[in-house]
Subunit: 332 residues, 2 copies
Amino acid sequence: MNRYELITRNLQEVIGRDELKSLIKSKKKISLYWGTMPTGSPHFAYFLPLLKIRDFLKAKVNVKILIADLHAALNGIPWEILEKRQAYYEALFPEMLKALGVSTKQLEFVKGSKLQLNPKYFEDVLKMSMQATTKDTTKAASEVVKITETPKLGNLVYPIMQALDEEHLKVDIQFGGLDQRKILVFAREFLPKINYKPRIELMNPMMSGLTGEKMSASVPSSKIDILDDEETVARKVKKADFPPKDTNCGIMQWLKYIIFPILDKKSLKIERDKKFGGNLSIKSYDELEDIVKTGKVHPLDIKIAVAREINNLLSKVQSPKLTKLHKAAYLV
Amino acid sequence: MNRYELITRNLQEVIGRDELKSLIKSKKKISLYWGTMPTGSPHFAYFLPLLKIRDFLKAKVNVKILIADLHAALNGIPWEILEKRQAYYEALFPEMLKALGVSTKQLEFVKGSKLQLNPKYFEDVLKMSMQATTKDTTKAASEVVKITETPKLGNLVYPIMQALDEEHLKVDIQFGGLDQRKILVFAREFLPKINYKPRIELMNPMMSGLTGEKMSASVPSSKIDILDDEETVARKVKKADFPPKDTNCGIMQWLKYIIFPILDKKSLKIERDKKFGGNLSIKSYDELEDIVKTGKVHPLDIKIAVAREINNLLSKVQSPKLTKLHKAAYLV
């Protein structure tokens, strides 16, 4: 697989394909950032962008992970607890990456406030804020920032700062989930208005939660927290929506986008009593999809395998240290 | 006249009268700032706040004059010409103050961007922007910031920064024109929301222009530029609205608020031909008002005296250096 394929595989959308091709052709160092706000407690779906980061690293892309504390504040996290959320995220992501076989020495972690609280950055915020109307920024922020009736002014500063991060992190590419689309498009449009070059924008697909909708911190049963214990994982997965033959449910998406990529070349083992057909060893997601479509495997058997794989992965991440940091950050 | 009277005389409004009284009683150093945006070319009415600054200095108040370049940018002045506007304002105000007998050694000039472009200030902008909605800031900015159909986001950052200037300049009092009222009230309300103390707000009355409305850079005949030559001053004053017996026109306001205070104890001389009653020597604005009400003096004779006094004052300010800086700032 060539660099271009490695960088773009499984993405939902690429803005600036030709720019990316030229960049690869130029043989210059390529750098990319992924930003994450230290808001809610990260859940299983966070492995999705990290798997993609593994691809970027394989493609010899310099990766920066921005833990965007100020963005969390602009999205409503009270200033007093930012530090603790930040501390948890900073400790957690390296462990999640290690569990995926990624050495954290290969990438750089950047704390948002450290990057952003400087005179030049602030000046750029003001400059861009004279280019963008409240309408532009409201639209850009709409899918990411929690905005009540009347937005707080800071909610609308959010997309401006995300755009400027591309410039101030000195990267060629921003990577994010498809929910970031409006902000990434905003960045493409508004960076050039203050004489900075527009960046390439890469977007990951969004995954469904266990109970249908997008995973959400406010619907605990829809997501599996990285620190959930074995039993909780088994219970949540067991309760998940999985209509027979439905290859589009959350569980199947998790298998497709996270579990099979993590298994890599290994097979997924589905254990069944002999009277129900005995164990299955499934080599690829496509193979599983075909079987599910026939209805020849019971969703519960798949769920049990999924819970086992999730627990296997989480056990590599969890630690007393993380539990302690999590408590400090969330159980206030 | 005691300190409280000196500080508050001729003001239109004082927010925090009791706080001001306690502050004076405490015998602590009192500090105050007046901010001015380097936007349009300053005109004669700018002597009004400077006269008030003279009062503050007489009352042993530490005065800071903020030349708020970033605020000018947030009000639509293109970034490229900010420096030149700033340079003109910085050179002009000391000369205007000297013409009023104020030594500039008694006060401190502060450049907005120098005060504001720092990490702590930016952090405070973000903090306050999470307290204030777009509605709050739109309302606060409405009388000062030029807002077209949809505001630029920067237009709404403006009042936040004006509020924060009170804290970051470490002053007890902000002084401004009555047009600043909504921003000053906003500052009172929002500084405490990020744990800063509210400041005392002092407001000067607004003066009418020569042609009735508020003086405006966009209506050249309504105002006299500080660099207008003698002939231009005479022509503009001659053309000014001054209905017989009207003691409320722009000319009378200028006499009341600027010319008589500058004359101090000296009389205003109105020259007339003997056949029209001969010269008049008027000791106070009140005396003039009484005469005007009777209609016994022709507006034109008053105008001639006013033009002479204005030219007399402006001649103390004008210089080739200022002309050069003005050209660089405005004739681009």
